[in-house]
C-alpha cells in the first residue's frame, strides 16, 4: 500500500461554467504533470464527457473515476462517484427522467457552450440541456439513488458560501447519509459534523486549478473500490492528508 494523490472534483468543457480548454485529454495531461494518481471527472448534472475522459486515461498514469456533480432541489451540490460509466449514465437517466433539465432551455445564457468531445478532443456535439439547473429530487433522494447504484455521495464544497449544504440548509442535517464531505476551510470545521471524512479537491473549472487541492489516500491501487474502502476506513485503507 502507498499514498495515492487524488483530485476528485474536476469539470470539463461540458460544464456551463468551465473553460473550453478543459478537454478530457488536456485535463489528464495536466493531472499527470501535477503528479496526481487519480482524478474524478464531475460535470454538472451530466455524464456526457465521461467516456472520452476514461478513454483518454486508458494506459496512462492517471486513473479516472467516473462522476457527476448533481444539483439537488435545495440547490445543494452533491459529488457522485461511480465504479463504472454505466452507473453514471443510469444516474443521469434518472436525473432527466420526469422532465428535469429539459433540452433547449437557453443554456447559452450561462456563458460558454456545453461541449461534448471524444478522446481526440474533437467536438461531438453540444449539450442542449440547461446543466446549470437543478433536479426536483431532494438531497436525501439523490444520495439514496447514488448509493443504490453503488456510488459514493460527497457533499461538494460543504462549507462554501454558495450551493453548499451550509449555505442552502443553514446547518448540516444530522442524519445526512453522505460518505464524505469536501471542505474548503472557509468556515470553522466545528460547523461540520465530526463523523464525516474530510476531502480536499480543486473543483477545477480551468486547467491551472487542477491539483491545487488534493487528498492523499492510503490504498492498494487507484481504483474506485480501493477509494471507497479508504473513505470508509476499511481494510487498513484510509485518508492521509
Amino acid at each position: 500500500m502507498r499514498i495515492y494523490w487524488a483530485d476528485l472534483h474536476i469539470h470539463t468543457c461540458l460544464s456551463p461554467c468551465a473553460e473550453l480548454d478543459m478537454t478530457p485529454k488536456g485535463i489528464i495531461k495536466r493531472a499527470a504533470a501535477k503528479g496526481l494518481d487519480m482524478i474524478a471527472v464531475t460535470d454538472h448534472n451530466s455524464a456526457g464527457n465521461l467516456s472520452a475522459a476514461l478513454g483518454c486515461a486508458a494506459g496512462g498514469t492517471v486513473a479516472v473515476i467516473p462522476g457527476m456533480e448533481i444539483t439537488s432541489a435545495e440547490e445543494v451540490h452533491i459529488l457522485a462517484l461511480f465504479e463504472t460509466i454505466d452507473a453514471a449514465a443510469e444516474m443521469q437517466r434518472q436525473l432527466y427522467d420526469g422532465g428535469d433539465f429539459p433540452p433547449d432551455a437557453g443554456h447559452k445564457a450561462f456563458g460558454t457552450e456545453q461541449v461534448i468531445v471524444n478522446v481526440a478532443d474533437e467536438i461531438l456535439g453540444f449539450e442542449p440541456r440547461l446543466l446549470a439547473g437543478a433536479s426536483s429530487k431532494g438531497l436525501e433522494d439523490i444520495i439514496g439513488a447514488v448509493h443504490a447504484l453503488g456510488g459514493l455521495a460527497i457533499a461538494s464544497h460543504s462549507d462554501r458560501e454558495s450551493f453548499s449544504v451550509l449555505s442552502q440548509l443553514g446547518f448540516f442535517p444530522e442524519d445526512a447519509m453522505f460518505d464524505a464531505i469536501e471542505v474548503t476551510g472557509k468556515k470553522p470545521d466545528t460547523l461540520l459534523p465530526a463523523r464525516f471524512p474530510r476531502l480536499h479537491s480543486s473543483d477545477a473549472h480551468s486547467p491551472d486549478m487542477i491539483g491545487r487541492k488534493k487528498t492523499g489516500f492510503m490504498m492498494e491501487a487507484p481504483t474506485f473500490r480501493e477509494l471507497a474502502m479508504a473513505i470508509k476506513g476499511e481494510g487498513g485503507r484510509g485518508i492521509r492528508g
Binding site: E74, E75, G138, L139, E140, L166, S167, Q168, L169, G170, F171, P173
Partner: protein, 115 residues
C-alpha cells in the same frame, strides 16, 4: 395580524397546525437557509420554496411565526413530522413567492398604517 386571519385572507392551505393565535409582525422571503438563520426576524412569517426538514429548525431557532411554502410544492413527511415536534406552523400555497410576498406585505403594512 393574527396568523389565522392571514391564512384566511391569503387562502393558505394548512400543512401543520400550530399557534393560530400568534401575531405575525413581519415577513421574510428567502430560500437560502443560512441567510434566514442569520437574518430571519422573530415573529415573521417566512416565505420559501424550500421544503427540506431543516426549514423547521431554522424557523424554530429564529422564533418565526410560521412558514409558507410556495409553488404548490410537495412537502415530505419528514418535514411535517419535525414541524409537529417543534410546533412550527407550515402553510402551503400554489402561488409563487413574488405574488404571495406582495400580498402578505400589503396585508401587514396596511395594518401598521391603520395603527
Amino acid at each position: 395580524m393574527k396568523i389565522a386571519e392571514i391564512a384566511d385572507k391569503l387562502g393558505l392551505e394548512v400543512v401543520n397546525e400550530g399557534q393560530w393565535e400568534r401575531e405575525a409582525k413581519c415577513c421574510y422571503a428567502s430560500d437560502m437557509l443560512s441567510d434566514v438563520l442569520a437574518n430571519g426576524g422573530e415573529g415573521c412569517l417566512w416565505i420559501t420554496r424550500q421544503s427540506h426538514p431543516n426549514i423547521v429548525a431554522v424557523a424554530a431557532i429564529r422564533g418565526m411565526a410560521g412558514i409558507i411554502i410556495t409553488g404548490g410544492k410537495q412537502i415530505s413527511p419528514d418535514t411535517i413530522e419535525k414541524a409537529g415536534q417543534e410546533q412550527v406552523m407550515i402553510f402551503s400555497t400554489p402561488k409563487q413567492t413574488c405574488e404571495l410576498a406582495g400580498m402578505l406585505y400589503m396585508l401587514l403594512s396596511n395594518e401598521v398604517e391603520r395603527g
